[in-house]
Amino acid sequence: MKSSSSQIPFATGAPALIWQILFFYLPLALIALSSFIQLSETGEFEGLTLSHLTNFLTPTYMKVIGSSLLLAFSNACLCFMIGYPLAYFLAFSNKKYKNLLLFLLIVPFWTNFLLHIYAWFYLLEHKGLINQLLMSLGIIDTPAHLINSRFAIMIMMVYYYLPFMVLPLYSSLEKFNYSLIEASLDLGASWSNTVRRVLLPLTSPGIRAGFFLVYIPSFGEFAIPELMGGDKFMFVGSVVAQYILGEGTGSLGSAFTLLSCAILLVSAILLFLAIGWILNPRRHRV
């Protein structure tokens, strides 16, 4: 089969590759490049500069990037803590319920997420259902401040990103041989030791995939913080959107995008190594 490769034109493989390069890598390269370019007021090329980038090396912008990192990290951790037991349950539960539970997990995931934001408005608003319920029960007298808070942002983030965590965990756990757990318990290991030294290390591909499928997009998320936070909190996504959509601030926007992407990648590599270290079963001494 290999011998025929010379007769077959590369053309059939080309469209996907060209499209990917033209509409994925080229725009990214353009953004990276334009963060170093100084334009005159009429939009003409004046020279190369680092000033767009250094412009953002201030505590204010570092705080924005920091809060995005924190948001992404806490979201990924919360999703993991909720998602792992859920995926475990799904993988080892009765087949009858399994399909129904998977179905119920994916339906909201495949429905426009702005509608879920809207649904949480109903619950969290000043006169929303949670406040009404708490007040009618006499637990609080005045409506609690639920919407436009970090709490509201976090709830919505976990709500939206949970399936991104559960589905890879589920497919990893489904391949996991359950008798290994039984063997470990029969041989006298405690349940927590079994989890730490058998279950988690052997499902680490799913854990990694889930973690980064949540972590990376959460970092750039801007619809949820804006709609649930009520413009009160600044995250990377909203700053980027502001600069890029603003008049004449395009290269500043590019620079900020480049800077935050670089920080995101460094943090992702560190987290990747950290997860590998945590999940390494040899780390534990007997």
Partner: protein, 259 residues
């Protein structure tokens, strides 16, 4: 002992999680039938919001735009992905290009969206349905190519070898042996791309411009203008639609992992 304890606690966690997932949805659905606007309590049953929904012209225009974009993005990305696998099946060394498509997972969608926006404006492509399709196809390729190629590698090579030994040309082998084996995976991936494109918000927000509104952007404008039971009615409709798609996806039984 502690195993049983963890079973009980995981049952509790699972039920709480599903409660967390479905309480907002149920509330939304219940209030789509309420006579008064929120935050009024339950006053009576009505279909008037659904009636209003079906007469909202802008909404159906946005709905149609979303369908068009999702359709073309799915079509182009599936066709391009299949062509790439065809090239691989003819002996092309596709493996070394695969890394190109994993970039979609490492770069946040917001970054891709703003990059595309400045790219389109610098080469003077007017924003609209075309740019939406161009952008959403990238999203599609990031799913179709890795999934389809992984599926292709899993296929039993004996089948294609048998076909070649028995005298079929490589092209005939692809269309008579490889393609039928890949078809279920192709269909379910296409369905996945369609849904993701249809529901996409971030890419649409930056690459739609002002002329072409997608359903997500329409919902956003409704959210900004305040709570209206028409949105509840729309949610009911879309939940019904996505349930249908999920059932369709399950019934394919292809074991394509969503991730």
């Amino acid at each position: 002992m502690s195993n049983r304890l963890s079973r009980v606690s995981s049952l509790v966690i699972v039920s709480l999680t599903y409660l967390f997932l479905y309480v907002p949805i149920v509330v939304l659905l219940v209030f789509s039938f309420n006579k008064e606007r929120f935050p009024a309590p339950w006053t009576g049953f009505t279909f008037k919001w659904y009636n209003e929904l079906f007469h909202s012209l802008y909404l159906w225009k946005a709905f149609a735009n979303s369908l068009i974009v999702a359709f073309f993005a799915t079509l182009i990305s599936s066709a391009a992905g299949l062509c790439l696998v065809f090239y691989a099946a003819q002996g092309g060394r596709v493996g070394r290009y695969m890394a190109l498509f994993y970039g979609n997972l490492i770069i946040p969608e917001t970054v891709l969206a703003v990059s595309l926006l400045s790219f389109f404006s610098s080469i003077k492509i007017p924003l609209g349905l075309t740019t939406l399709v161009l952008a959403h196809t990238v999203l599609g390729l990031g799913l179709v190519v890795p999934i389809l190629y992984a599926r292709y590698l899993e296929l039993d090579k004996k089948l294609t070898e048998a076909s070649l030994v028995l005298g079929a040309t490589p092209t005939q082998t692809f269309f008579k042996v490889t393609f039928p084996l890949l078809r279920p995976a192709l269909i379910s991936t296409a369905l996945l791309v369609f849904i993701i494109s249809f529901d996409d918000f971030i890419l649409s927000y930056f690459t739609a411009g002002s002329s072409a509104q997608t359903l997500s952007l329409y919902i956003l404008s409704m959210l900004r203008s305040g709570v209206s039971p028409v949105v509840n009615a729309l949610s009911a409709l879309l939940l019904f639609l996505s349930s249908f798609f999920v059932l369709l996806f399950f019934s394919l039984k292809t074991r394509v992992r969503i991730f």
